[in-house]
């Protein structure tokens, strides 16, 4: 009864959110039509939508999206992969973690964008440096969440391992790693959304394709409609990635679902 009431309330709130969103769009359109808003900067929904339809039609949009997504996936797998591995090692070894903490402390606050000049010098302006920027972005959340996950293994279960005379390997594979999976998954979720939001930064490096490129290209050409199409794609695909990751989480972490 209570649950039903709650989900009903949620439905109403969700509808409210959508109504507000639609309201903003309608207001934007009307204000643009009446000349209250400067459409050369802010464009307006109909123009953006026209542009969108056109770009879907000539397949240019999907090409930009694919270009960005493939960079993001590459960067994510490299960055998050290294983060996971290093996180497991540091989480398992107190000594190494203490040593690493200094470096984590210094390096972590540096935003991925700050590495770009160095990356261009080291790797040139090709794909490599773009993927690396994204990899750096997704490395940190994965590293930190993995360390946290490994370290926060239930002490009671660790003691159970001792009582049952389990060797180190069994303790790691059957107790520590499964315990860390929820935290690792949280890390992966953050890593991929960080990777996606880094794509704009990465495509500042001499790109000729990609959604990030599209936004900057539109700015150079003063085409706000095109710019908004790009921005909207960043947002929409970001949401989509999050939904996919949440579904995946439910599947993978069936035992961890508090219901």
């Amino acid at each position: 009864m209570n649950i039903k009431k709650k989900s009903y309330e949620n439905l109403i709130l969700n509808i409210t959110a959508w109504v507000i969103l639609i309201g903003i769009i309608v207001f934007w359109q009307l204000a643009g039509d009446k000349g209250i808003l400067n459409t050369t900067i802010l464009s307006k929904p109909t123009l953006i939508f026209e542009r969108f339809v056109k770009m879907v039609g000539d397949k240019s949009l999907i090409n930009h999206i694919i270009a960005s997504l493939s960079r993001v996936l590459k960067g994510f797998f490299i960055g998050a992969g290294i983060g996971l591995l290093l996180g497991l090692i540091l989480g398992l070894s107190k000594r190494l973690e203490v040593i690493a903490n200094l470096f984590i402390g210094i390096l972590r606050p540096i935003p991925p964008i700050a590495w770009i000049p160095l990356l261009i010098l080291a790797l040139g302006i090709g794909e490599q440096s773009k993927v690396t920027v994204i990899a750096i972005g997704s490395f940190w959340p994965m590293l930190l969440d993995t360390i946290h996950g490994v370290k926060s293994t239930d002490k009671a279960l660790m003691e159970l391992g001792r009582v049952l005379e389990k060797d180190r390997r069994t303790v790691i594979t059957k107790i520590i790693l499964p315990s860390a999976v929820p935290a690792i998954f949280t890390g992966a979720r953050q890593a991929i959304s960080r990777a996606w939001s880094c794509v704009v930064t990465a495509e500042m490096i001499a790109a000729s394709r990609g959604v990030g490129f599209l936004i900057q290209y539109a700015r150079e050409l003063s085409q706000p409609a095109l710019m908004f199409v790009g921005v909207a794609m960043i947002g929409l695909i970001g949401v989509l990635i999050d939904i996919i990751m949440m579904r995946l989480e439910k599947r993978l972490l069936y035992w961890n679902m508090t219901d």
Partner: protein, 263 residues
């Protein structure tokens, strides 16, 4: 599967002293504990919260070591945990991501004959009455059923010593009594030396052949009360009630009128 050949080990606790270092202060938790538990016996240790019951049990289990004195099982000094000593904790401590079956099998050594493992797990699932729940995850089981899984996991190695640390404390009264009876039944079959730590006087009397009373600060053994009740024990017999009063008196001294305890 006959386990009747299992007999318990003798537990010898001599001059055990245990202190914990907290910051710079040292906390004396156990002071000169001496205790001998006969092979195959079942004893209860009862005492207020914080008197060192768990600490004593952890020492017997080899999870911690005493500052002075020693603990021996059949004359072998305890230095580390062993599969021969089964421990049942207050919390069931199941692996939340594994099924009933896998959790129980986790009690066995990793390198164990597969066929034998299947047989043993099936046997213990039956022993604790969990048939049909082999594939259920801990989160899908009630507290009592989770406890049954933990019991099966502890017993699957045929331990010669069984240590129980307030194992039923978190369960409702009916489930608790039910499981007390089951553990006693299993003990009667297997005769592993069993030490039950509890703060429940009824549980201590119902399950133990002796009730060892501890007092706190520092933890010492205050008294040992023999339980001589006709078997099977009844919780509502006159003899049981007499023992209950005796234990109450041990706890609260004799300076209060009887009526005060017998509420």
């Amino acid at each position: 599967m006959g386990n009747n050949d299992i007999s318990g080990k003798r537990i010898n606790i001599s001059h055990v002293r245990k202190e914990f270092q907290i910051e710079k202060e040292s906390l004396l938790v156990l002071k000169d504990i001496n205790l001998e538990i006969e092979p195959g016996d079942i004893v209860s240790i009862i005492g207020g919260s914080g008197c060192g019951k768990s600490t004593l049990l952890r020492l017997i289990a080899g999870l911690d070591s005493p500052n002075e004195g020693e603990i021996a099982l059949d004359n072998t000094k305890v230095t580390k945990p062993s599969l021969d000593v089964g421990v049942l904790f207050q919390e069931s401590r199941l692996l939340p991501w594994e099924s009933t079956w896998k959790n129980i099998a986790f009690g066995l050594p990793e390198k164990f004959d597969k066929e034998k493992k299947n047989e043993l797990v099936a046997h213990y699932i039956k022993l604790v009455g969990l048939e049909g729940f082999e594939r259920a995850l801990p989160g899908q089981l009630s507290g009592g059923m989770q406890k049954r899984v933990a019991i099966a996991r502890t017993l699957i190695n045929n331990p010669h010593v069984l240590l129980l640390d307030e194992p039923f404390g978190a369960l409702d009264a009916f489930t608790r009594m039910n499981l007390q009876e089951e553990v006693v039944r299993i003990w009667k079959e297997q005769r592993m030396t069993t030490v039950l730590v509890t703060h429940d006087i009824d549980e201590a009397i119902f399950m133990g052949n002796k009730v060892i009373i501890m007092s706190a600060k520092p933890g010492i053994i205050k008294d040992v009360i023999k339980v001589e009740l006709p078997e099977p024990r009844s919780r509502v017999s006159v003899e049981f009630e007499e023992l209950r009063m005796k234990v109450y008196k041990e706890f609260f001294g004799d300076d209060r009128p009887m009526e005060d305890y017998a509420i």
